[in-house]
């Protein structure tokens, strides 16, 4: 990186965090620290919700995913607007009117203390596992691309997050998220512009999309019905709706965002903004990956983007370079409308893909940053690194803040020390934030060999979200179901999900549907056995 890149990186990061801390000055109570005093308007909440999802993983991994597998991953988000509408109709007014700090606090009002405790623990396990993955994403990639120390990158990133999260609470997080989202969009658009600009002169923007399409990378809609296919219209709409319902309706890292709203209307508008903006944003990021594919059709590159693994597979390079030249030539012929060029292009592309697969290395997470490092002009590299680091930081800050909130409100205040001064809980919240931040730094060291990071995070979430969604569905829609039936239902739901994971090939997007269905069915059956219809 050049001096200009370092200057851009440090100035961008410095401005974002100084602004966030300045906006959050004066927090001195748990209500202000954990819920921003319920004073937020819709637009910082909306951008904060989007930023929490748009982690470094989104930038690094989604572009690589499109390069390797095409744009069909966008279908994963098709259920999100449906879920947002359902949550706006049910969860938002219920949580607001209940006056709770956490979603799980509501479960005690509806069921009992043990149900609240069980779901809180499930959340702490699930989110606790994911936070390490989120923190490890920039470290493992920046280590390989720029040669930075993995430990130093993880520790420095983690410590910065802990400092501003512990100091400013959720308001600091929300306002840093706003800046981060704007920088992220700017960085992605700049990367797209540079990739298009660097294409050969005889390849237009639309030619570039056609070439990506010829390699089946422009496939944002696939309508095949296949239970084992991760991303198609049906898994996106049905599985995606359930996953988004669980994420936005039951996951404290999201619920806490819209609980900071000054009214039900403000909270609803923040979620509906996401319903409208999320799919176009993911489409744009995936589109960058598809365009990068075309860029590399003409730009020679090694078999692997993972530079430290490259030397072991150097014997493949001559064959790969020959196939690359053949593919570039066929791509030009295809654009010029020559017959049979498409078949030649696809044959050469398949050969290159087979050579990459034969290495046994999954390096999709390195594709985007390799492009940034080698082809972006001075200054823009610093901005893109800032995008990745701030994306990681805002996701982690939201996660450790929610982990701290559940630890303090649902565990400490409920089961360990119920009656203390508010100032005590405020200090404990700061300490809990510190604890979860250090925990994230430690676990990030173990999350480095998980393949595509975005899939790893979604997979982890799907193991637990079905059970959580099931119990909240019971709470909202089945007033006759009691606490014991709901508790047994959650246990049965989690057993079903883990069975599906370890004994079947069913795609993880369906785990939420399965888990939720098993929770509801089991609870209704227990309730029916306990209270036969004749006794009601």
């Amino acid at each position: 990186m050049t001096t200009l890149d370092w200057a851009v990186l440090l100035l961008t990061l410095g401005f974002i965090f100084a602004y966030g801390l300045w906006k959050a000055r004066g927090a001195s109570s748990t209500h202000q620290y954990l819920l921003a005093g319920k004073s937020m308007s819709w637009y910082p909440m909306a951008l904060s919700i989007m930023a929490t999802q748009a982690s470094a993983i989104t930038v690094i991994s989604t572009t690589g995913q499109a390069y390797a597998d095409g744009m069909r991953f966008v279908q994963f988000y098709f259920g999100l607007p449906i879920a947002m509408v359902i949550i706006c109709m049910t969860a938002v007014p219920i949580f607001h009117k209940a006056g709770v700090f956490t979603a799980y606090e509501y479960l005690e009002k509806r069921f009992d203390a043990k149900t609240r405790l069980l779901v809180s623990i499930i959340f702490l396990i699930q989110r606790g596992l994911a936070v390490g993955v989120a923190l490890s994403a920039p470290a493992i990639v920046l280590t390989v691309i720029f040669g930075w120390s993995s430990t130093m990158t993880t520790v420095v990133t983690g410590l910065v997050v802990v400092i501003y999260t512990a100091w400013g609470g959720i308001k600091a997080i929300a306002w840093t998220d706003v800046q981060q989202m704007l920088v992220l969009l700017l960085g992605i658009i700049l990367a797209l512009g540079v990739a298009v600009h660097l294409m050969p002169a005889d390849i237009s923007f639309f030619d570039a999309i056609r070439i990506a399409g010829a390699a089946n990378k422009v496939n944002p809609l696939t309508t095949t019905v296949d239970w084992n296919d991760r991303y198609n219209l049906w898994s996106g709409i049905i599985g995606g709706t359930f996953l988004a319902l669980a994420y936005f309706g039951c996951d404290q890292s999201q619920v806490q965002r819209y609980l900071t709203g000054s009214s039900i209307t403000q909270s609803r508008l923040s979620l509906l903004f996401n319903a409208v903006a999320k799919i176009p944003m993911q489409f744009l990021i995936l589109f960058v990956g598809a365009i990068l594919f075309t860029f590399y059709v003409f730009e020679p590159h090694p078999v692997l983007f993972h530079s430290t693994q490259r030397a072991q597979h150097s014997s493949l390079e001559p064959k790969y370079a020959a196939a690359h030249a053949e593919r570039a030539s066929a791509a030009r012929a295809y654009i010029q409308g020559e017959e049979e060029a498409l078949q030649k292009f696809r044959a050469a592309n398949d050969e290159m893909q087979q050579l990459r697969t034969s290495t046994g290395v999954n390096d999709t997470n390195y594709i985007f940053l390799s492009f940034v490092e080698k082809y972006m002009p001075a200054g823009m590299v610093g901005l893109l690194i800032a995008v990745i680091l701030t994306a990681a930081m805002t996701t982690i800050s939201g996660e450790i803040n929610s982990l701290a909130t559940v630890s303090v409100i649902d565990i400490y205040k409920r089961h360990i020390r119920a009656s203390a001064e508010d100032h005590h809980y405020f200090r404990i919240s700061q300490l809990a934030t510190l604890f979860w931040g250090i925990y994230a730094i430690i676990t990030a060291r173990y999350a480095q060999n998980l393949g595509s990071l975005i899939e790893a995070v979604n997979m982890l979430g799907s193991l637990f979200y079905g059970g959580m969604l099931g119990i909240f569905t019971l709470a909202f829609y089945f007033p006759r179901v009691g606490a014991n039936a709901a508790f047994i239902g959650v246990i049965a739901g989690e057993i079903a999900i883990f069975s599906a994971r370890f004994f079947t090939d069913i795609s993880f997007l369906w785990y939420n549907v399965i888990g939720c269905a098993v929770v509801i069915t089991t609870a209704l059956m227990v309730e029916a056995v306990k209270y036969p219809s004749s006794q009601r």
């Binding site: 449906i82 990506a212 399409g213 422009v218 944002p220 809609l221 508008l269 176009p280």
Partner: protein, 39 residues
């Protein structure tokens, strides 16, 4: 806390319907986009 009307379209039902129609439009766009550029 009072439940207010949305700042546009007059009722929440209309807002939700507009969001779902927008989703249908996005899915249709994805289908058309793929068909145009994939041989």
């Amino acid at each position: 806390m009072t439940e207010e009307k949305p700042p546009f379209l007059g009722s929440w039902t209309r807002v939700y319907t507009a969001v779902l129609l927008y989703l249908a439009g996005l899915i249709a766009f994805c289908g058309v986009f793929g068909r145009i550029f994939t041989p």
